[in-house]
């Protein structure tokens, strides 16, 4: 590990300033410190800005909608009766992250802002200076792309690693920072996230589900005990009069950003939810996919996750 300085921020403003001054935000540290230990980037983290010393950033409350402080841990969320009462797919997503130890340390904001797990990007000692690091090539496109994006890849084919981002996308969440509020979809871009140099996530807001809304999250990983998603799906389906009036389906592990499966949403909307319609929607979940030589296996897995999430929600 290279050397870095460490400060304990006590206010968001202090943390924001420190981040802007060559700082790296440290909350749970489960991703940031691993990056440092493996020399993933070509330069040091600079100043590690500990924000766990900022008070009142870990609340979870139902205030007409769900409000989660940036420092709420994944265990807090998975075990929260508030979250489980109306936003169970989010609780399920939080529960599927890592191990109990990682969930005890990791925070919701850190889970959203974490770096990708592409093995070219994560290579020890910055072995591959890839596009995501300022290079000019996505090495996965010419190398082993078994776990890379089948959807939305644009030059970089790394996939977003966050499990909680997928149900949050299906639940239409808003990310609040010290500077703005934005739909969660605006947080993510192909090469990472849109947070500014002095911008810090402070809260996640999720609207209360409309009456008749059902939801579920399904994740496929190589190991059941702990692993990042090869493919995941979260669904939020509002049923009115026996038919789907609104439907959001988000995919994880298969795109550089949490991916809205709009064709599948359209397919399911307007009709009943049953095995037939679930299968039909799932078949459209990967519309627009672009398959690399090694990752075609993810198509059927992704569709299966969508179908199973829909049926699990019923």
């Amino acid at each position: 590990m290279r050397g870095f300085t460490h400060i304990n921020a006590t206010t968001v403003d202090e943390a924001s300033s420190a981040k802007a001054d060559n700082g790296t935000i440290l909350a749970g540290g489960t991703d940031v410190l691993g990056m440092e230990k493996d020399f993933v980037l070509s330069t040091s983290a600079g100043t590690m800005v500990n924000i766990k010393t900022i008070p009142d950033l870990n609340n979870i409350a139902d205030d007409g909608g769900l409000k989660i402080g940036a420092l709420a841990t994944l265990t807090d969320i998975a075990e929260s009766s508030v979250v489980n009462s109306k936003w169970s797919s989010l609780a399920e997503g939080a529960l599927k992250v890592g191990t109990p130890q990682l969930r005890n340390m990791g925070t919701i904001a850190g889970n959203l802002a974490q770096e990708c797990r592409c093995w070219y990007y994560r290579a020890h000692g910055n072995f591959f200076n890839c596009l995501r690091k300022g290079g000019n090539l996505c090495f996965a496109t010419i190398g082993n792309n078994t776990f890379n994006a089948i959807l939305g890849g644009q030059a970089c084919f790394a996939v977003a690693a966050s499990d909680t981002a997928i149900p949050l996308t299906a639940l239409d969440a808003t990310v609040v920072t010290n500077q703005r509020s934005m739909p969660i979809g605006d947080l993510f871009v192909v090469l990472g996230n849109t947070l500014g140099d002095d911008e810090i996530i402070t809260e996640i807001q999720v609207p209360a589900p409309a009456a008749g809304t059902i939801q579920a999250f399904k994740k496929y990983a190589r190991r059941k005990s702990f692993d990042f998603a090869c493919a995941s799906a979260a669904v939020s389906i509002t049923v009115s009069g026996g038919n789907v009036s609104e439907c959001k389906i988000a995919l994880g592990g298969v795109a550089p950003v949490p991916w809205r499966a709009s064709a599948a949403e359209d397919e399911l909307t307007g009709g009943p939810v049953n095995a037939t319609t679930a299968a039909a929607a799932a078949a459209k979940a990967t519309d627009g996919s672009f398959v690399l030589p090694n990752n075609g296996w993810l198509i059927s897995v992704t569709r299966a996750m969508v179908e199973r999430a829909i049926l699990a929600a019923v």
């Binding site: 590990m1 290579a123 591959f128 190398g143 078994t146 190991r223 090694n294 075609g296």
Partner: protein, 750 residues
């Protein structure tokens, strides 16, 4: 007391004895090489080559040396065994010693190296092509016929066959060896004497290696090794020479801790294999001929033990006419070695597919084809020399495993799909064989000490890697001396200065080969004990009139006349039993017409049987039941043997399902070299509740008290899992492990 046939044992094979080193192992009290001299040592790191094949032109370490805390930087001009040409990514280029591990890591970034990049090849299929870049291992190509042997008349055998099948399968998976502690070393010098704590499976071999590297007499090298968290056959430190060289240069104690990544990269993984197999058989299932060609990716290892790939098939089945040919392929990767079963997991996978395809073609159950062709106890199928097998229960345990699985009820032909209520596909398979491990080596040594109160110590020249081998030795010694298990404890061990060479601390050989040495050493002590006791009776008796059992040294003619071990040891001068070697693979009891002392083959019968549920859409496989039986002749230490077996099943599943070292084919970089990306299963991923295993005792006629080794036989027959998946989906996966895309491909869903 447990009866085994005509013999009575008081200690060996007795239930309830506990591992004498378990508590210190699980509480961290057992010394590991990285733990030595805390606060009094400096730390080493290595810079690896960024190229798969290159030559070092120049190295400028001035910036690294200027970093505060850096004590030394060394390269191929100073480190014994290093050369200027580098053959794989990670091949050591330079090493640093500094006052902290992080400083040594940071210093690596400051070393400026100029390389001449040379052509390289990573993929074995590409390396085989004419015109492929030369890896540098061999001067004229990247392939080498490593073995080619024949039996009988192969052409006539195929002409005689009613049914012939041909199959091409592979590649099998290469997977990294990752013991709990990497192969770490802490080394220091005192004058001309080199001292080193090394994480290793072979402490005396490390001492010899260091003596050679630094041109030292053996008695100036002192190597210690206690716990190393498992070895699995490749548990040798890649760090000892570097640590010793940096210690010599700096005059300080140097710790070279090998982290997970370096261990995975430089520890040497299990190699990958593929094959082309042709089998001919009569309609009743009798095999008439084999043609078994295989190719193995050796990386840059010239001595990769790939020839074992054919061995299990070769020794398990009656094959009157056969041709075997193994071709090694060199690629620009670290030299391949083996993980807990040399070549056999891959070999079993490949020939298991062929056996099942033969059965399918014959319209027979695979179980019946195996049973039809297994060797008998007095048939030596290995090399046609007149040697019997020490024991052979492969037919019996294969049938037993089939019964435990419910094979008769659950088997269905491969072209008959069976769908479970949840929509998944159901499959079963069985694979039995003789494992080539468990053999005897006659060059192990041991020491036994007895004390005045009638207790004693063993003094073993081995470390502790796994499930209580030293405790197994205590059982052997206590049994031989007529003492109780608690009377014999583990004394100094893993110390080359005071122990005899205990050989490789491998689960497949140590309990038996070093165990035999302890049997001989205990026999030496027993002879002294009985001689001393003989003179203590009134009137004195001859030593040959005495026996020892259950803490008594008694007159055979009248067992009521006895002395205790404490009686005798209290009056005896100190009794020390030595064995400078022991017996090799020679019979301790007759087998058929073969007399005691005749040279024999010791093989270990093993069988695995699997029942699976397969989701052909996602490629997910669930193991519903896994039956595993290993016949080790005799359980010298029951708790240890059962622990080995259960852990062996864990490894079997991991080998079948997930372990796989994946390389970038352009650069040669090891893409998934850490625990997370490599995907090692945790206990939560292993269906322990679905295991059904047994350690059988078929009574070997070679090993001490009829025991054999088991470390490798109890692991690695993962082919039953793959074959069960094939039975479920109607097509055998031809690659390992069972990645979801491998299953999907076999199922035809991609």
């Amino acid at each position: 007391m447990t009866d085994h046939g005509s013999e009575t044992f008081y200690v060996v094979s007795k239930a309830g004895t506990r591992d004498k080193q378990a508590v210190e192992t699980v509480t961290g009290l057992m010394e590991a090489a990285s733990d030595i001299f805390p606060g009094k040592k400096i730390f080493a790191s290595e810079l690896g080559s960024p190229h798969a094949h290159c030559r070092v032109i120049s190295i400028d370490a001035s910036a690294a040396l200027a970093l505060p805390g850096v004590e030394a930087v060394m390269d191929h001009t100073e480190v014994p065994g290093w050369q200027e040409e580098k053959y794989f990514v990670g091949d050591p280029v330079a090493c640093v010693a500094a006052d902290s591990f992080n400083t040594s890591q940071r210093a690596l970034e400051l070393i400026d190296v100029e390389y001449e990049v040379r052509p390289s090849v990573i993929d074995p299929d590409e390396a085989m092509q004419s015109g492929a870049p030369l890896t540098g291992l061999w001067p004229e190509g990247n392939t080498n016929v490593r073995t080619s042997n024949d039996r009988g008349d192969v052409a006539a055998g195929f002409a005689e066959a009613d049914v012939t099948i041909e199959t091409e399968d592979g590649w099998t998976n290469e997977f990294a060896i990752m013991p709990i502690e990497g192969g770490s070393t802490t080394a220091w010098w005192n004058g001309d004497d080199l001292y080193a704590w090394v994480s290793t499976q072979n402490v005396h071999s490390e001492a010899r290696g260091l003596a050679g590297s630094f041109n030292l007499p053996y008695n100036h090298v002192h190597v210690y090794s206690h716990g190393n968290g498992g070895g699995f056959g490749g548990g040798r430190a890649p760090s000892q020479t570097v640590a010793a060289a940096l210690a010599l240069k700096t005059g300080k104690v140097v710790s070279h801790h090998v982290d997970r990544k370096m261990q995975a990269q430089n520890g040497g993984p299990q190699f990958a294999t593929k094959s082309k197999i042709k089998i001919g058989a009569k309609n009743d299932g009798t095999i008439t001929a084999w043609d078994f060609q295989y190719w193995s990716d050796q990386g840059m290892g010239s001595r990769t033990p790939m020839t074992g790939t054919q061995q299990d098939m070769q020794i398990s089945l009656n094959v009157p006419n056969a041709h075997w040919e193994g071709i090694g392929i060199s690629t620009n990767k670290k030299g391949r070695t083996y993980y807990r079963c040399v070549a056999h997991p891959g070999g079993a996978f490949l020939y298991g597919i062929a056996m099942h395809k033969l059965a399918d073609a014959l319209g027979m159950r695979p179980l019946d084809v195996y049973l039809k062709n297994f060797v008998d106890i007095t048939v030596d199928a290995m090399d046609d020399s007149p040697r019997p097998l020490a024991f052979c229960t492969v037919k019996e345990i294969t049938q037993e495993a089939a019964d435990l699985l419910g094979y008769d009820q659950k088997y269905h032909p491969i072209d008959e799909r069976v769908t479970l209520p949840d929509g998944r596909l159901h499959g079963v398979a069985i694979h039995g064989e003789l494992d080539g491990h468990g053999g005897m080596s006659g060059n192990r040594a041991a020491i036994v000490h007895l004390r005045g109160d009638g207790t004693g110590f063993i003094n073993a020249g081995i470390s502790r890697t796994g499930c209580g081998t030293n405790s197994a030795h205590c059982h052997v010694v206590a049994e031989r001396l007529g003492m109780h298990y608690e009377d014999i404890n583990v004394g100094s061990y893993g110390d080359t200065g005071v122990s005899q060479d205990g050989g490789m601390q491998a689960g497949s050989t140590n309990a038996t080969s070093t165990g035999a040495a302890f049997y001989v050493a205990a026999s030496d002590a027993r002879e002294q004990l009985l001689a001393q006791a003989a003179g203590m009776f009134d009137p004195p008796v001859n030593p040959e009139d005495l026996d020892a059992a259950d803490r008594k040294i008694f007159q055979i003619a009248d067992p009521t006349k006895f002395l205790t071990h404490a009686d005798v040891c209290g009056r005896a001068s100190r009794i020390i039993g030595h064995a400078t070697n022991n017996w090799g693979s020679t019979l301790t009891r007759p087998v058929g017409d073969y007399p005691v002392g005749h040279n024999a083959r010791q093989r270990v019968p093993r069988v695995s049987a699997a029942e699976v549920a397969v989701d052909p859409v996602t490629g997910e496989v669930e193991i519903l039941k896994l039956v595993y039986i290993t016949d080790i002749g005799r359980m010298l230490f029951e708790e240890g043997a059962k622990a080995q077996q259960e852990a062996g099943i864990d490894h079997t599943i991991a080998q079948a399902m997930i372990w796989h070292s994946i390389y970038d084919k352009e650069s040669g970089y090891f893409l998934n070299s850490n625990f997370l990306m490599n995907g090692w299963p945790t206990s939560l991923d292993l269906p322990v509740e679905n295991y059904e295993y047994r350690v059988a005792e078929g009574d070997s006629h070679v090993g001490p008290f009829g025991g054999t080794g088991m470390g490798e036989p109890c692991s690695g027959a993962y082919c039953s899992i793959s074959l069960a998946v094939g039975n479920a989906i109607g097509n055998y996966p031809t690659e390992a492990p069972l990645h979801p895309w491998v299953v999907q491909k076999a199922a035809g869903t991609i």
